[in-house]
Structures are given as C-alpha cells and as structure tokens.
Amino acid sequence: MKFLGLFNYWVFAILLVIGLYALITKHNLVKKIMALAIFQSAVFLFFITMSKIEGGTAPIVQAGVSGQVFSNPLPQVLILTAIVVGISTTALGLAIVVRLYEEYGTIEDDEILALDRKA
C-alpha cells in the first residue's frame, strides 16, 4: 500500500526526466517546446498529488451537505497559475521559433548554430 501511495510521485519523477531528456537531446525547436510542456506538466502532477486527501472531494462547499472532507485547495490554486505561465511560455517560444524559421530557414538548433558560426 505504501508503494501504491508513492506511485504518483514516481510517475512525476519519470515524466520530469523524460521531458528533461528530450530538452537536452532534441535539436528540433518545436520538439523542445513540446518537451518543455511535458516537463512542466510533471510538476503540475506533483502539486496536485499532494493536494489529495483520502476520501476527500473537490473543495466546493455544497449547500445542505455537512461533514465533507475537502482536498487541499492551495496546491490547486498554485497549479492554475503555473498552467497559465506554461501556456504563456509556449506561445512566446513558438513565436520565436516562427521568426527563427523566417530568418534561418531551419528549426534545427545545430543547423542554426552552424549558420551563426559562419556569419
């Protein structure tokens, strides 16, 4: 049971390193942005996992129902903010990729580096 209770955290660790691995090794810039999204999603899972309480329910008070156990609202709020930060980064990153493609004619970072070196 103890192991099942920690399973979410292991998946968090694995998703995080999958994202990180792709960020380090992939040269395609769009791929890097997708990897960044996986990397950030892993952290969302981490926070939401710690907000869960056994037998709990979503923290919305229902009229006439008492004695409910609510899961922790705070990490959920933090992750709402983090999701928004993530999509903003994605949007800006993609705009830069589009401009890079217009300037260099490629979106592979090793080819861009080679062009930079030549200049």
């Binding site: 995080l16 990180l20 960020l23 810039l29 890097k32 960044l36 990397f39 950030q40 952290v43 981490f46 926070f47 710690m50 705070l74 990490p75 933090l78 903010t81 983090a82 930060v85 903003s88 980064t89 800006l92 990153g93 830069i96 990729v97 401009r99 890079l100 300037e103 260099y104 970072d109 861009i112 580096l113 930079d116 200049a119």
Partner: protein
C-alpha cells in the same frame, strides 16, 4: 498614509503603467511614459530605503490577509539595495537609450517594447519585495518573459537564437525552483519564507528537504548564470538592443542571486544540518572556475559586448564566491559587490550604447581609435573599467577589499583564493587594456580622426554614471549600511 503602502506601490506602479504604454500610438510617447514610470519607481525605492534605514524592516499584507494565509511582502535592507539597483538601472538605461532604441526598434512596435520593459522592471521589483516563495516564482516568470521580449528586439537575427536558448534554460531554472518550493510546501504546509524557516525546524524527515535545497539552488544558479550554467548569458547580452543590455546586465542576474541568498541563508541555514558546509563546497569551486575561466575567455573576444558579458560571468563568480564563504564578512562582500558591479557594468554598457551610436557596431575592429574620436565617452569607460578592476578610489575597490578580507578570514585555503582573485583581477586589466589600447593607440577604420561625440545630454548621463562609481568609492556609507542590514537579516540570530 500612502507611505504604508510603499511595498505594494513599488510593484503596482510600473506594472499598471505597462498596459497603458502598449495602448500608446508612438514610440516617443511610449518611451516618455516608461521613463517617467521608471523615475517614479526610483523615487519610491529611495523613499522605501529611507524608511527601512529609519524604522527597520517593512511588512505588508496584500489583500489584508495576514501571512501565511495571504501573501506577505517584506522589505529589509537587502531588498532596498536590490530595488535601488533595479529602478536605477532601468531609469539610466531608458534615459540614455532613447536614440539607440529608436534605431533598434521601429516606431510601430515600440509601444510593445516599452510595455515589456516596464513589466520586466515591475517583475524584478516584485521579486525583491516578495515574502512568499510561490509569489517569487510568479514574478520571476513575469520578468523572465518580459526580458525575452526585450532581448528579441535586437536587430541581429542571432538575437532570436540567443533568446530561444535563454527561454528554454530560464524555464528549466524556474521549474526546478518550483519543484523545490513544492517539496518545501509538502513538508511544511506553508509558502511564506519566515514561516517555512520556522516550521522547517520541526521536520525530522530531511530527505525531501535536501532535494528541495538542491532543486532550488541549481534552478536559481541556472537563471543567475553561475559557471558552468552561464551558457545562455554571453549571446543574450551581446545581441540584445544596446540600451536593453544596460538594464539587463545591471540587475537581472543580481535579483536571482538575491533569491538564492534569501533561500539558502534565511530558510535553509540553521534548519538543515550540514547545509551551510554543503552550500560552500558546492558553490566555491564553481565560482572559482567561473572567475578564472570567464576572465580568460573575455580576453579573446572580438566583440566589446561579448567581452563585457564574459566579464559579467566572472563577476557573478565573485559574488557567488563571497556568498559561498557563508561568513558575515563574506556576505557583506557579496552584497556590496552586487551593488558595485551593477554600477560599473551599467556604466560600461552605457558607454557601449554611445560607441555604437556613432560607429554602428560593437565589434572591436570598428571601434579602433574610438578614444580619439569620442574622448569624453572613452574617459568615462576608463573610469568604470578601473572600478571593475577594483582600483582604490572607485566603488569596485570597496567590494574587492571586503572580499579579500573575508577570504583571508576563511579557515579553508584562504591564500589560494586570494591568489585566484588577484590573478583574475589582472586578467580584467588585460582584457580592458586590449580595448583601451585599441581605442587610443590604433588608427580609426577610415584613417582620419574625426571628432564625433554623442549629444551632450547623453554624455552628461554617462559621466553622471561614471562619477557615481567614484562617489561610492569615496563615500560608500549607503551601500555599506544596506549591506550590513541585509547581512544581519540573512544570518538572523546566528551571530
């Protein structure tokens, strides 16, 4: 009555001016409003500094909710020092950068650029006043995204590839920081710095805490460009618009170092057994390698901005080294050097703005003989350069002095560290001399020496900045007082 709200207004004023700026129609108006907002922020920072020096640390509960339930703002001597840096650098860069930015950014896009500038400044101020670990993350991302926009405004296409790299590394750094905050929240149930420190004491299971300290330190080191995590910095500084480089180089990495110090000293120091030694063992070798290697690389640069950028990596090394000593004297030196290096580097990059205005490029070749053509600006460059090296009489000397004193007092290999500092200072002399020699003793590209100084207001501003380097070398009371108060809060009741 408004005086009670200074910590919130410090952030709200520039932040709320930004949406107004992007609605403006011309670049000039946008620049003017941004400059005014920046100067007002500088005024607020001065008021706040005076208040802190008079009455001590200021606390503010946003929304009327007391921390740790709500978000608290805390302004002490250290925050005040950083606030002065941010708002001062921004005002200087905007005031001196008008002509240069008009060349770099076309008029229709300029309102967006100045909007991003204000948001970037507000974000940095937000980090400096924050008393809440997650709030730091939010404002770190605000300032980071806005800074990417500023760098992407550079005319060279390499600005784009530089900024993409910065975006990826910056996001990894911020996410690492967020993971660390998550572990801390998991073990303490709170996000407020002071409350985390308090409750960390009772946590018996330290494995997640150690991991948290690791993630936070590495994440912030990435963003602070501590060697060898500096790979994004030189190109970002080089290809950003010249005026933006003045602002970014003077304060953006310093603010991250500020968070690093806050976390490692206020939160972990004293609550995590062995943390202090581990921090030193981790950071001192990296700092030393950074100081020596980056100075060496700077010697071989063919672009003035890249050279100064590598010099920044070395100087960040000094700050990290001083902090890594984890002694009172070391922290004093680190905080002082944050201030003095920002002053010197800001002045140097402002001179670069002037050089590029007249010669069109920052490559060493096109700057040959610039000392004969622009004697005033070059002389200011020389003064700031001396401050960077640490010659007595300049601001740089004060922090180098404190650094050497701190290193000698360290029970490790103090002598070896002193040697490294001396060697790297000599290397700074070498790389600066290379440019000075080229500027004074070689023929201009056209052959003919034509005096072509920049406009008088810009020259005055450059000399104002250069004289500040001397002023704070002769009368260092203000930075000393702030650094001392900052050191006291960082080390808490330990000494």
């Amino acid at each position: 009555m408004l005086a009670d709200h200074l910590p919130a207004l410090q952030v709200a004023l520039p932040l709320l001016t930004a949406p107004l700026v992007i609605l403006l129609r011309t670049g000039f108006l946008a620049w003017l409003v941004a400059l005014l907002a920046s100067l007002c922020s500088l005024g607020l920072a001065m008021l706040l500094t005076a208040t802190v020096l008079e009455t001590g640390t200021q606390h503010y509960a946003v929304g009327g909710w007391l921390p740790p339930m709500g978000i608290g703002l805390t302004v002490d001597g250290l925050s005040a020092l950083v606030l002065l840096l941010i708002t001062g650098a921004s005002s200087l860069a905007l005031a001196g950068g008008r002509l240069s930015l008009r060349k770099d950014i076309d008029n229709r896009r300029a309102p967006m650029f100045y909007g991003a500038w204000l948001i970037s400044m507000a974000g940095l101020c937000g980090i400096a006043v924050a008393g809440d670990a997650f709030n730091v993350f939010v404002f770190m991302e605000i300032s980071a995204l806005a800074t990417y926009v500023l760098i992407a405004g550079g005319r060279d296409r390499r600005a784009l590839s530089a900024v993409f790299k910065y975006l990826i590394i910056g996001t990894i750094g911020a996410t690492f920081y967020l993971i660390g905050v998550g572990f801390l929240y998991m073990m303490t149930g709170t996000l407020n710095f002071a409350d985390i420190a308090l409750r960390l004491d009772e946590v018996t299971e330290t494995r997640p805490i150690v991991i948290a300290a690791g993630f936070i330190t590495i994440g912030l080191a990435l963003k602070a460009a501590i060697f060898p995590l500096h790979v994004w910095l030189p190109r970002a500084y080089t290809y950003a618009p010249n005026a933006a480089t003045v602002f970014i180089a003077a304060c953006s990495t310093k603010v991250v170092i500020y968070v690093l110090l806050r976390f490692n000293f206020e939160v972990f120091h004293g609550n995590l057994p062995g943390h202090t030694d581990l921090f030193g063992v981790f950071i001192i070798p990296l700092a030393l390698a950074g100081i020596v290697l980056a100075s060496a690389i700077a010697i071989f640069q063919t672009n003035l901005k890249t050279m100064l950028a590598f010099s920044s990596v070395a100087q960040i090394g000094y700050i990290a080294l001083a902090a890594g000593l984890t002694s009172e004297a070391g922290l004093m030196a680190a905080l002082l050097h944050m201030f003095n290096h920002a002053l010197a580097k800001g002045t140097l990059f402002l001179c670069v703005v002037a050089f590029v205005l007249t010669s069109g490029s920052a490559s060493m070749d096109s700057l040959r003989g610039i000392g004969k053509r622009m004697p005033w600006t070059m002389a200011a460059f020389l003064v700031a350069g001396l401050s960077l090296v640490g010659v007595p009489g300049t601001a740089g000397f004060i922090s180098k002095w404190y650094l050497v004193v701190a290193v000698i007092g360290w029970d490790g290999w103090g002598a070896a560290l002193v040697a490294a500092i001396v060697i790297s200072s000599l290397m700074a002399v070498v790389y600066l001399w290379r440019f000075v020699e080229l500027a004074y003793y070689s023929e201009p590209p056209g052959g003919e020496v034509v005096p072509m100084e920049v406009s008088r207001p810009l020259r005055c501003l450059i000399w104002f900045a250069a004289l500040a380097n001397i002023y704070f070398g002769l009368f260092p009371q203000l930075p000393l007082a702030l650094a001392r108060s900052g050191t006291e809060t960082l080390l808490g009741g330990l000494f």
